[in-house]
C-alpha cells in the first residue's frame, strides 16, 4: 500500500489508527457507533477492494449473532418484547445493547484489519526505532529470520521425505522423532548461518561506534496538514466527551445523550474517521480526471 492513505507518513497512519481504535472501543452512543461502523466498512472496502467483501459479510453475520444472542442470556430491561423458555423475557434494551456491542466489535476489528493493510512492518520499525534503536534492528532481523527459517524447514522436510524418512503416516512416536530430527538439522544449519550473519554485520562496521537509522520516509506538507486536522478533531471530540456528549446507557432503561455536545462531537468524529476514505476517494477522482484529460 504505497498509494492513497498508505502513502502518507507512518506517523499520520499510526496516529489515525490509534485514535480510531481507541475511540471505537469507548463509544456506544448510537450516533457515534453508526459513524464508526459506516466509515470503517467504507475504509476497509476502499483499501481492500472486492477482496474485502468476504470479511465484511462475515463480520455482519457475527454482529447479528451477538446482538440476537445477548437478550437470550440477558433478561434485564424495561420493554419486554416477548417471553420465551418458561417465562424468560426477551427485552428491547438487551437487544439494542447487543447491537451496540456487536457494532463496537465490528469497528474495532475492521480498524485493525485496515491497520494491517496500511502499517507495514517497516513503517512500524521506523516509528519506534527512533526511541529504541537496538530494538528496531532486532525487530527487523526477526522479520527477516521468520520467513528464512520457514523456508529452511520446508527444505529439510522435503529432503527427508526424498529418502523415505518422513513419518507422515507413522505412529505418534515416529512422528515425534522425525520432528526432533528436523529441529536438530534446523538448529545446526541456522547456527552455521547465524555465524555468517554475525560476520557480515561486523564486517560492515556494526558495533564500531554510534549508529544512525536510515528511513525512506519524509514528513511533507500534506502530512502536516492531515496531522493538524486529526489533532484538531481529536481535541474537539475529547472536549465534547468531557461535556457528556457521548454518554449512552442501555440497561435497565435507555438513556442516550442529546444536545449540542453530541451534535458537535459527532461532526468531529465523522471528520476524523473520514480522513482515510476521503484521501482514498479523492486520489481516485484526481486520477480519473487526469486520465480523461489525456
Amino acid at each position: 500500500m504505497e498509494q492513497g492513505f498508505g502513502g502518507y507518513h507512518p506517523a499520520v497512519n499510526f496516529i489515525f489508527f490509534a485514535g480510531a481504535i481507541l475511540f471505537g472501543m469507548f463509544f456506544v452512543h448510537p450516533a457515534f457507533l453508526l459513524l464508526s461502523v459506516g466509515l470503517s466498512c467504507t475504509s476497509y472496502f476502499l483499501f481492500k477492494g472486492r477482496r474485502g467483501v468476504r470479511l465484511l459479510l462475515g463480520m455482519l453475520v457475527l454482529v447479528a449473532t451477538v446482538s440476537l444472542l445477548n437478550p437470550l442470556f440477558n433478561p434485564y430491561g424495561e420493554t419486554v418484547l416477548f417471553m420465551w423458555m418458561w417465562g424468560r423475557p426477551f427485552t428491547l434494551e438487551a437487544l439494542l445493547y447487543g447491537l451496540a456491542t456487536g457494532g463496537m466489535f465490528l469497528t474495532v476489528i475492521l480498524w485493525f484489519a485496515c491497520y494491517n493493510e496500511i502499517m507495514t512492518s517497516d513503517k512500524f520499525t521506523y516509528l519506534f526505532g527512533k526511541f529504541v534503536p537496538a530494538l528496531s534492528l532486532v525487530l527487523c532481523m526477526v522479520l527477516r529470520f521468520v520467513p528464512h527459517y520457514e523456508e529452511k524447514i520446508r527444505v529439510i522436510g522435503g529432503a527427508r521425505r526424498c529418502i523415505g524418512k518422513s513419518a507422515e503416516n507413522g505412529t505418534k512416536r515416529e512422528r515425534l522423532e522425525s520432528g526432533m530430527a528436523v529441529l536438530s538439522v534446523l538448529t545446526s544449519w541456522s547456527l552455521e548461518g547465524a555465524a555468517v550473519t554475525a560476520d557480515s554485520m561486523k564486517s560492515r562496521g556494526y558495533g564500531s561506534g554510534p549508529r544512525t537509522n536510515f528511513s525512506i520516509y519524509r514528513l511533507s506538507r500534506r502530512d502536516g496538514v492531515v496531522l493538524t486536522l486529526l489533532a484538531v478533531c481529536a481535541a474537539g471530540l475529547a472536549a465534547c466527551m468531557l461535556r457528556g456528549g457521548t454518554e449512552a446507557v442501555f440497561l435497565p432503561g435507555i438513556f442516550w445523550a442529546q444536545g449540542p455536545a453530541t451534535a458537535l462531537g459527532s461532526v468531529f468524529y465523522g471528520i476524523f474517521l473520514a480522513v482515510p476514505a476521503a484521501i482514498q476517494i479523492g486520489e481516485g477522482i484526481t486520477w480519473r480526471i487526469l486520465r480523461s484529460r489525456i
Binding site: 504505497e2 512492518s121 517497516d122 534492528l137 527487523c140 532481523m141 522479520l143 527477516r144 520467513p147 528464512h148 523456508e151 529452511k152 527444505v155 529439510i156 522435503g158 529432503a159 527427508r160 521425505r161 526424498c162 529418502i163 523415505g164 524418512k165 518422513s166 507422515e168 503416516n169 530430527a181 536438530s184 538439522v185 545446526s188 544449519w189 552455521e192 548461518g193 547465524a194 555468517v196 550473519t197 560476520d199 557480515s200 554485520m201 561486523k202 564486517s203 560492515r204 562496521g205 556494526y206 558495533g207 564500531s208 561506534g209 554510534p210 549508529r211 544512525t212 537509522n213 536510515f214 528511513s215 525512506i216
Partner: protein
Amino acid sequence: MAHFAVEDLTFTYPEAKKEALSGVSISIEKGEYVTLCGKSGSGKTTLMRHLKTVLTPHGKRTGRILFDGQLLDTVSLREQSARIGYVMQDPDSQIVTDKVWHELAFGLESLGCDQKTMRLRVAEMANYFGIGTWFHRNVAELSGGQKQLLNLASIMAMQPDALILDEPTSQLDPIAAADFLNTVRKINLELGTTVILSEHRLEEVFPSADRVIVMENGKVLAEDTPRRIGQRLHAEQSDMAAALPSPMRIFYGVGSSLDCPLTVREGRRWLSEELKDTKIRQDSLPDPGETEEPEAKDAAVALKEVWFRYEKDAPDVLRGTSLSVPKGTLFAVVGGNGTGKSTMLKTVCGICRPYRGKVMIDGKRIEKYKAEELFRGNLAMLPQDPQSLFVKKTVEEDLVEMLADVPGSIGEKEELINGVARDCEVMGLLSSHPYDLSGGEQQRAALAKVLLCRPRILLLDEPTKGIDNFYKQKLAEILDRLKAKGATVLMVSHDVEFCAQYADSVSMFFDGGVVTTNTPARFFSQNSFYTTAANRMSRHMFKNAVTNGDVIELCRINKQN
C-alpha cells in the same frame, strides 16, 4: 605502495596440528584484479580473512599484514569497515535486515552517516546495480543472484577501495554467476577498486584477472598472469589443471606451439590458425545414433502428460511434461531457472502429486507403491543442499541413522555402510562433523546417506552446485560405478559442461515441459548458445565436438592424416 602486503604469514588454528597458512608473502597493488585459486582446504579463505581484522580467525600467528603501508591491526575498525569490503559465499545468511532498501543502508547506518548522505549513496547504488525495480521488496522474495548482488551493493555503498570476495558465485546458477562476476569486473574497471577474488569457476574469471595466485596446502604455489599460470599448472600436472578454462585445456591437450587462448573468441582464432595447413578430412566423430525412447513400461522413470501446480489459483508449473528414462543410464535434464525442473523431480519422488497425467516408476504407477516400498530399494533423491540431510554429530552416526529402522544384524549393516562409504570415498571422513567438511565432501557424505536406501533409481538435484572441477570428476566416477551396478540416475542441472561429458542422454526443459531429448553430442551440437565452451570454440571447424576431449581427438585425427 602496495595496497595489501602480506609478509611471511604463518597461521595455525587452535588445536590443529597442521599449519593452515605457512610463510605466505604476497603483495597486491592498488586497482589490481587478483584471483586466488586452489583446491578446497588449501587456505584461501583463511588468507582472505586475514585481510580484515574483525574476520581474522583466532589462532597462533606470526608475520605481518600491511594495509596501505600501515599495520592492519592499527587501522581503526570504522576505517576498515568502510574501506575493505568483504563478500562471503552464502548469499542468504549475509543479509541482515528484511527490506532491500534497509539492507543497502545497513553499512552506512553502522558507520553513523547522516540521512542526507545515506539517501544519496543508497540511491546511487540502487541505480548502479539496477536494483531500482526491487528496491521496496522483502529480501525473502529475491532470487539467489539478486541476493548476492544486494550483498555487493550494500558493501559498495560504503565506498570501499578494496573488495574481497570469497567464492561469491558458488551458490549461484551459471547465468547469475556470470552476471555477478561482470558486475565485479565493471566495478574494478570503472571505479579502480582493488579486487581480490577466490573462485573455482575459472572459465569466467581468468580472462578478467590481472594476476592469479595459486595456493596449495597453505602455501603460495604460483603467482603470475593467467596465461603463465595455465602453462605452469599444465607442466606440473597439477590437480588444479582440471579447473582451467576449456580453451586452455584444449590448447594444452593438442600441444600447440602458438599463443595460449583464454576466451572462446581467442580459442576460435587459435583453432583456425592451428589447423590452417591441415586439410580437414574428418569433421565429426562417429555418431552413436539417436537415443531410443523406451516404452513407458520398460523405462525406469516415465512421465506421461503430467500437469502440476502448487496451488489452485497458481499458474501451472508442469504443463504436459512427458519423459522416459531408460534403465541403467545417466539422464540429464538441463534448462533455465524457474522452468520447473526441480518440480519435475519432486513429482517423480511423490512429493508433488500431479493433477493430471501419470508417473510410472519401473513400469508401475507411483500411487501403487507404499511409501516405505518406494524409498526402500527403489528411489531416493539427493537434495540441492546436502546440509539439509545431516542430523548427527559425525558422518558415521548419520549413516547409521539411515539404517535405524531397517531389519538386519549389526554386522550386515556395518558392511553396508562401509560399502557405501567406500563407493562415495568418504571412508576418511567418517569421524568428522558433517559441517566441518568442504562443499564437495559434504555432497559425497550426503550421497552416501542417500545410497543407503539402496535405490535403483537415483535422483539428483543440481549435484554440481558449489563444488569445484576436481570434485566434479570424483562425482562422475561415483555415478559411473553406480551405473555399472545397474542403477539409473536422473539429474537436473545447470552445468552444461558436466552433462555434456558424463550424461548418456540430455533433455532440454522449458516452460514446464521437455522440448527435446538427445545424446549429448547431438543435443549440444544443435544448440548455439546453450552449449559447452568446447563446442562454441570448435563449431566452425568440427560438426559434433562437444567436450574438450572431442576437440582434442578430432585435432589429433586430422593432423595425423
